[in-house]
Subunit: 292 residues, 2 copies
């Protein structure tokens, strides 16, 4: 069955409110469209856990920075295809508002999550996470009490969303879903479509770098996070077409760098390949317990 | 009947959710306690329009700036008295959470409303409106769909709240309530209690200054807003104990200064009297239509 397409905010509010009134549980999957297997894994998970699944499709201009006009302009848009894919994965509703419906006048309000957003992607893309936090707060306000599904692929985004939901007491349970990968290990991303054929063949090296880092953490081959980071960067840069942005060992909660390799960690990496910026991450647990 | 006192966020969420489930309409009155006749007019209005009225009492540290520790520390707190007054005015619930309940860890998230918050009170109290916008967003998220009552006394705060509610699509209808004044014209404020006896007798001059400005606008005695502002300031500073901060003619929507005295305007004033900072405002409509 094809999901119902909604374009108006008041329709979304009414439909989800009435779903809850009759005892249903709302699952929300916020996206910018160009749905791939990663998004669809979120929709399937939502369909398994909620009674009414709404996928939102909105290419949010606030999260594109000054140098990213091209990205925004060329962001792939194919609503028919997205509607079909979301429906097949179990979506009941697709909310795809026109820009003027989302913000009848340019918004003055910004939601900012301090600290968490200064580093990694935040450092590379100033203002990006304010744009993300603002649109997510708005979409969650429109959806009302719900389960909200986010991919671990954008690990820092997930941390930002978790934090704003807690700080602002939004009536939302954030559900994190694992990264979905192509068979060769490349994490699914709408940006992958912009890779040339040769670039595509070397792209899985980003994942390989993270795997190498994880092996070092698990095998206690390093106590200094810097050594793990250097090793990940070396794997990446052995391929000349890769230009590493960061390769980092972080605490999973606030994405800060630990003093030592210990406890539950997250490995983050970002690199440019051709003109495309790729990011990926992996969990890694050291046998060394974290110091209290 | 005495209102039910709630201290936990999950209790508030549950009670208001269940009120809505059984067809009720929630009215929310956010306050910092020290309830006076102004607050109570909001509670009475809420009791007339909603079926369940919740008054929140929380002295929000985020809205006190670096130089305002004294204000925060000495903010009057008398929960028993507030509970009694709120109950008498028609409150069903009083939500008065301890600080650690409101934010189990220091919040990293801030809600910022650009432009609107740079001027007037925002200029005098840097960060103040970010603190207000953040706590209001959180309280509205906790309350869920509701009517939310704010006094026009804090006119800029009201504009900030209206704007964040619109920008973030919060499921809230903001209800603005007129300023309540003592018989001599002084706008009720918890700060009035800090005025000395002599200061109290001259305090109504702030209102007199606004009335003088309004008369000029209504009688078309000025076309330049600066002339109206100078006249208001002159009334104020004829009393040596007053130190004017600003006396302004503004557009009521975004609180910007108009080119000319025309259409529907708002007059704002802030001044120090003794150690106490007082603010007040009045609507004023010019017979001159606003230029399109």
């Amino acid at each position: 069955m094809t999901a119902t397409l909604l374009e108006r905010r008041d329709e979304l509010v009414a439909v989800l409110g009435s779903a809850r009134s009759s005892g249903g549980r709302v699952g929300l999957v916020p996206t910018m469209g160009a749905l791939h297997g990663g998004h669809l894994s979120l929709v399937r998970r939502a369909a398994a856990e909620a009674t009414t699944v709404a996928v939102t499709i909105y290419v949010n201009p606030l999260q594109f920075g000054k140098g990213e006009d091209q990205d925004l302009e060329h962001y792939p848009r194919d609503l028919d295809r997205d509607l079909e894919a979301a429906s097949a994965a179990g979506a009941d509703l697709v909310f795809a508002p026109p820009a003027a419906e989302m913000w009848p006048e340019p918004p003055l309000t910004r939601v900012h999550v301090a600290g968490l957003t200064d580093r990694w992607e935040g450092a590379a893309r100033p203002g990006h996470f304010d744009g993300v936090a603002t649109i997510v707060t708005k979409l969650l306000a429109l959806a009302g009490p719900c389960l909200a599904y986010f991919g671990e692929k954008d690990f820092q985004q997930l941390a930002v969303v978790r934090r704003l939901v807690a700080d602002l007491s939004l009536p939302v349970e954030v559900v994190a879903c694992p990264v979905v990968r192509d068979p060769d290990g490349l994490a699914l991303s709408s940006r992958n479509a912009r890779l040339g054929a040769e670039e595509r063949t070397v792209a899985p090296r980003l994942y390989a770098a993270l795997l190498a880092g994880r092996r070092m953490v698990e095998d206690e081959e390093a106590t200094d996070p810097g050594d793990v980071e250097a090793a990940m960067r070396a794997v990446l840069e052995a391929e000349a077409r890769f230009e590493a942005d960061y390769a980092a060992v972080v605490r999973p909660g606030d994405l800060s760098r630990p003093e030592a390799v210990a406890g539950t960690l997250r490995l983050l990496a970002a690199a440019r390949l051709g003109g495309v910026r790729l990011i990926d991450n992996l969990p890694a647990t050291s046998p060394h317990p974290e110091e209290a």
